[in-house]
Symmetry: C2
Subunit: 803 residues, 2 copies
């Protein structure tokens, strides 16, 4: 059985390899590498994916007679190939041999992947192979793989081949295969010194150079041996072949250290020169592993979360192990190494090609975890948005709005990259796609700026970068809102909420919805906070910004007015309507569809294949309205509704939750996070059930086939954040760190360490007790709120509360 620090698979299962590859991807925020087998297939077509952060490539592709822009995450040259053949036979291939034993372990504590196998080949030779690898967390340009081969019943010679392969294609997502999938052009290959090879490729459209060097050493009987090498060289492929005598019972270790640089990197002279220099300087596998493991140790000290379930039977480490796996994968995409890169967080991480590396709104689920652990990462990711503010301004202008309108799917230069058409694999039809109307992504960005500031009090960031984005987003919301004299209120037309099942009204060609509750309330929130942001800044900075953006007092007055007169629609019983006209839609016959189809997560595809549309029904992919209770505390919702002149009734909350949960297909992995969160106080068993389901999303690939396309980073971070913020009741508001723990029945205790305003704080919770300790630091005393009371917590002070 796996412990809480490792993921173990026994046996080789070709059918599960896609899933395993995604779950065993190794990365460091700069690049990541999939690939399950200890040797890589060498057929020049199919490769394990290897991605590099921030390298996008944009190609025009013809689909279904229409031009479609297609921006792809770049596969970097494959550095894994390290294979062998005994006695000049066939190169080792897992699929062609008789496997006697196979075991794969992902070590979360150290970020190392290990594989051990024994096999018998057609010549009756039995051999054991042990392989391990990592992508270095402290030296982001380095990775290493080591393979140890031991002949169990034979002696002879062994050929070893160590290659770099730039012929990779993007083929990780089956339904994208009709798109152009070749994005790398060969530039050069060459030998470097005595022991290394070098490969340079260039992305075909974005002209990014990727340079990789690999050094291969062999250690028969544990000590380094110089061996003659033969160079195998092609335009985009290069290998060193080494022939070594090998003796029964004596292990041969082959070590390959690689360095990857791109022309986008900072502090380089030229990426090829840096890559060659770096492998020349690199130490051995074991020495590199030590500094790599130490970096992970430090990361875990900041990011770990400890839960002890209240049971002793079965796999009592399962939840903890999966939570750690989730943190582990988040940190492969966003890590200390991300801080100096111009990158966002793609929804599938650096783990797979789905969504082509575009940046969506998933940060909303990811930032809270990062904010409270290593806010430098959040700051860097917000800078990614800030750099694309000009593009968002132009997008707003072109759409007839003011301010900045960030795209739903943001491409490399901040351009809208949402597909115009999408394929329903169930019907085989290409359909118009209106999802770019999800303007709510703009509210998510503003929300993230605000919460980064709340947690860090980083006035310098807010002043210099955040406020400008915030004000431009507020202005966008003010300009998209139109006054409707019939209601005496402002409304927002033609948008989509997070629930992608609804992109318009049935029996009309008009796109988008009217008064989506989620969008409208978020817009109100943004406008309120924008007015607050102006007050927070030093007066000379507010003045500068208002002049630069030409914001007049009249405009601020309009923001205030809209924030008090936005329209929301309620059902008669006080339940907030997902959008105007929702009440006129039909109820769907859930039983009929559950009976007819094995999996109804994607009811939209089912309905379309049947010639129907989800727009006709009261159903959702994920419940929009409930997102409001995920983002805001009940107090905040009450405040917003009362500002708008609506009545807030506490009774309506559980009714609203029940109403929408009954009508959700959980077509998004984020849906369970939200639902578990909103149930946490009212229905703890139900919340726990959804939480554990969400935990399994990727580990068991519950949507059937989506994990091999890349993991679901938002859902992964979201599960950790349920434990971190929802169970602990953390709320960072008004310069106070509020705590209001409510631990589920299923847990005995919960421990975590957060960073609040520069001050490390330890939280230790049991069912009836909360201990808060402020660690030694030169930072300031913080304000701690427990239920309704505020306390001062000095560095090195501990406070205990009864629950």
């Amino acid at each position: 059985m796996s412990d809480a620090w490792s993921l173990v698979y026994h046996g080789f299962d070709p059918k599960a390899e896609g899933l395993r590859e995604a779950l065993c991807t190794l990365g460091n925020g700069y690049f990541a590498t999939r690939g399950a087998a200890p040797e890589a297939s060498d057929d020049g077509v199919h490769y394990p994916g290897t991605y590099v952060a921030g390298c996008y490539n944009r190609l025009k592709t013809e689909i279904a007679g229409r031009d479609v822009w297609n921006e792809d995450l770049v596969n970097v040259p494959n550095w894994l190939p390290l294979t062998f053949r005994p006695e000049g036979g066939e190169w080792f291939d897992l699929r062609d041999v008789e496997l006697l034993d196979y075991r794969q372990e992902l070590h979360l504590a150290t970020g190392e992947l290990r594989r051990a196998l024994r096999y018998r080949d057609s010549g009756g030779r039995e051999t054991s192979v042990a392989s391990r690898r990592f992508v270095h967390m402290a030296h982001p340009h380095l990775a290493a793989v080591e393979t140890t081969i031991e002949p169990l019943n034979w002696s002879g010679t062994l050929d070893v081949r160590s290659a770099l392969d730039g012929r990779v294609v993007n083929n990780g997502v089956a339904r994208y295969r009709r798109l152009n999938n070749r994005h790398l052009e060969a530039v050069e290959t060459e030998a470097v010194g005595d022991d290394a090879i070098f490969l340079r490729v260039r992305t075909s459209q974005s002209r990014i150079d990727l340079a990789m060097a690999a050094r291969t050493h062999v250690y028969p009987n544990g000590s380094l041996k110089n061996t003659d090498r033969r160079l195998v060289q092609d335009a985009a492929y290069i290998a060193h072949d080494l022939t070594v005598p090998i003796t029964q019972g004596a292990a041969l270790t082959v070590e390959k250290v690689i360095a990857l640089y791109t022309s986008r990197d900072h502090a380089i002279s030229e990426c090829g020169l840096e890559a060659r220099k770096a492998v020349g300087r690199a130490r051995t596998y074991d020495a590199l592993l030590r500094t790599h493991a130490r970096a992970w140790e430090h990361i875990w000290r900041r990011f770990d979360i400890a839960i002890v379930p209240d049971r002793e039977d079965g796999d009592d480490k399962r939840e903890l192990r999966i939570l750690r796996l989730h943190v582990f994968h988040l940190l492969q995409t966003a890590s200390p190494n991300t801080i100096d890169l111009d990158v966002g967080v793609p929804p599938r991480g650096l783990h797979g090609e789905a969504y082509r590396g575009h940046i969506f709104w998933d940060e909303l689920f990811i930032f809270p975890l990062l904010n409270l652990r290593m806010p430098e990462i959040t700051r860097a990711l917000l800078m990614y948005r800030y750099r694309r503010l000009d593009e968002a301004r132009i997008a707003a202008q072109e759409a007839g709005f003011q301010g900045a309108m960030f795209p739903w799917q943001s491409g490399s230069n901040g351009r809208e990259e949402t597909q115009q058409l999408h394929l329903n694999p169930k019907s085989g039809r290409w359909l118009p796609d209106r999802s770019h109307r999800q303007r709510h992504v703009n509210a998510a960005i503003a929300y993230n700026v605000w919460h980064y500031y709340q947690v860090t009090e980083d006035l310098e960031f807010l002043s210099f970068f955040g406020a400008e984005m915030f004000l431009e987003i507020a202005r966008f919301w003010a300009s998209i809102a139109t006054y409707n004299a019939d209601h005496g209120r402002y409304e927002i037309r033609g948008v989509m909420g997070p629930d992608e099942y609804h992109d318009g009204y049935p029996d009309t060609d008009q796109a988008g919805l009217l008064n989506n509750a989620y969008t409208n309330l978020l817009a109100v929130w943004v406008l309120c906070r924008a007015l607050e942001v102006i007050e927070l800044l030093p007066q000379n900075r507010s003045q500068e910004l208002c002049e630069k953006l030409a914001i007049s007092p009249d405009e601020l007055g309009r923001w205030d007015e809209i924030s008090r007169q936005m329209r929301l629609v309620f059902f008669d019983d006080g339940i907030l309507s997902q959008f105007e006209g929702y009440e006129r839609l039909d109820e769907i016959d859930w039983d009929r569809y559950r009976e007819k189809y094995e999996d109804i997560h994607r009811l939209d595809r089912i309905l379309e294949a049947e010639g129907d549309t989800p727009n006709r029904y009261k159903l959702s992919k994920q419940a929009d309205v409930l997102m409001l209770y995920y983002l805001f505390s009940t107090e905040e919702i009450k405040e917003l509704l009362e500002r708008l002149g609506y009545t807030f009734s506490p009774d309506a909350v559980p009714k609203t939750i029940e109403y929408y949960m009954a009508r959700s297909s959980h077509g998004s992995t984020l849906s369970r996070i939200v639902d578990s969160w909103v149930l946490a106080r009212s229905n703890r068993p139900g919340s726990w059930e959804l939480f554990t389901e969400a935990l399994e999303s990727d580990v068991r690939d519950i949507q059937g086939g989506t994990t091999p396309e890349g993991i679901h980073l938002g859902a992964m971070a979201g599960t950790v954040d349920i434990v971190q913020r929802c169970y602990s009741g953390i709320d960072t508001r008004g310069d106070v760190l509020w705590l209001n723990p409510r631990i589920p029945e299923q847990l005995r205790c919960l421990r975590l360490r957060i960073l609040y305003r520069g001050q490390p704080i330890e939280l230790d919770m049991e069912r009836d007790r909360l201990m808060v300790t402020s660690l030694p630091s030169a930072a300031h005393t913080i304000q701690l709120g427990f239920r309704d009371e505020i306390f001062q917590l000095r560095p090195e002070e501990t406070r205990e509360f009864s629950l």
Copy 2:
């Protein structure tokens, strides 16, 4: 006469053009452009330089039979060529016509360069030409030039040529012309749409793509007219030729807007695509000028300094105008647009090719100004060093030391780029160069980290980046110090101080000096502050860093020990000796040399040409020891000396100043800054005289020919900082903003606005009165120190002190 916001030249002076070009360079932190004439010379060889920040190019060159690495600042394609010919004659060339009138104005407030001239050509045609241009401060990728041509006594047709020229070479520095000066390779040229041209070049070694697009519009009689264009196209040159009818007395305006992107830029898809898109979107010259001027207005509000001299005769705005010119030029190299770039501050700015864009220690003179006005820029420049920390670690290791050893001349990837040989133009000899032994650059970097933190209290930066650099530098100093049992003290061997006249002892081949006072005392200061840094960080971060860097308590003990037992050498009268053995050197016969040579700033070159060496004499290029009084207050020096067990005698200070000032040739422009500073309290007239001399360094090119090679950014910033910190007595120490003004007799009053710990503060000083006002802000109350007393200053509070 020029006012305090402009620099005006009358008449065209070919001999002064190099100087004027440097002083009229326009830039925005991303790129800068020289070039004085309204038309550019079109001969394919000599061009006005145009530089782009952070693009270095490294080539191996053979000099004097030795390999020399030569890393150059990259000239980007020349975008200035916008020329014309009346009636199909010769293209306009200033040198070939009869100039009737010529006036050139650099407008500091708006960052616009204007030229107006009238001329008569060989056909007797009189024409007036008005030209203006800017490099955009708010849109860093844009620049624009506008030329208005009016035939005064003729009508006919006019050909206009608007070009982009990638055939530029680096030839701005005469003595570098034997080095390889061609760094750009042609890639492509093409027309874009109806009205634009496009050029792409690539740097030959660093493989950086530079893409430039230019849009040319003509406005006869003020309104846009579509005109047929002919394309003139070559591999690295492209132009649009337009023919326009022109009438006596009717002005024709030609507008050219350009966009420059490089493959190093953030938030791009591909640099060529972005450049084309940007000129397509760009508005007119006037519209762009408005947003450009507003950006400058905001910058001036933060950076301006006001002084009123106590005289009414003569040019009473001269000092103020030059101070503003200095701020103006600093901001062309380091500006808000620098914040997101991986760049340092080259000693000659982006203004010229001298020192090839390498990064030295000049930041020491530049950061104090930036820290107190826009610390975001300093933070970004410190990140430039942090990114090169690994390279500095390897340099230390290779030299047999521990920690990090930053290079004296830092190249693109942080590698030591100090020349191994240098040319003495006086003797024509290539000589071994030992200046890489100026290890004191490491103390300067630590000093800058510390003072950035003191001014901003940015614990996040210190914790995440600054501390690691600081500790590694401290460790370097600890490892280069060796214990000498004879003295019972530690000493440092084989280094050079800032005074480059001394690189060893006479009559020995051994390089470097023993116990350079400047180096040793700075090393002590770094070790003391390093111990303090560890205490400042949150405990978990200190622990992380100590583990990562393997710093043991024993090592910290050793730092403490060295910081108490470093050796300094004093003369008998208590004057600190520049280095051990200085007292045995000869006095030089100053009169003899002053008589024999017109200019003795560079006595080193004179002596070498005479077969002698400055190593034999008690003389300095700039006085090392006095730098200590520039960097530290008397209280700090006393503290350091007493820690070392030496006696501090206040009497020794003036004696020390007098001793070394008498022996300095001011071979560096930084020398006068330091000397003016250290005299400010004891000899106000002498200080003022040196200050005004320093002010003239570039404006009058007092070193004779060095300004055309690029301005002296350290000296420029230094003069402003004399007014800012020295006259106001600003000292940021121990969480207190100390003020102790001493205004020179020559000034009536002095006003400036600084930013201290996020709080904008206005200082208004007269001879007998100091007013301190804290502007409205949500920031914190600050601690204000006046003489020996500490006050709390709340936002919106004013305090007045008598002087």
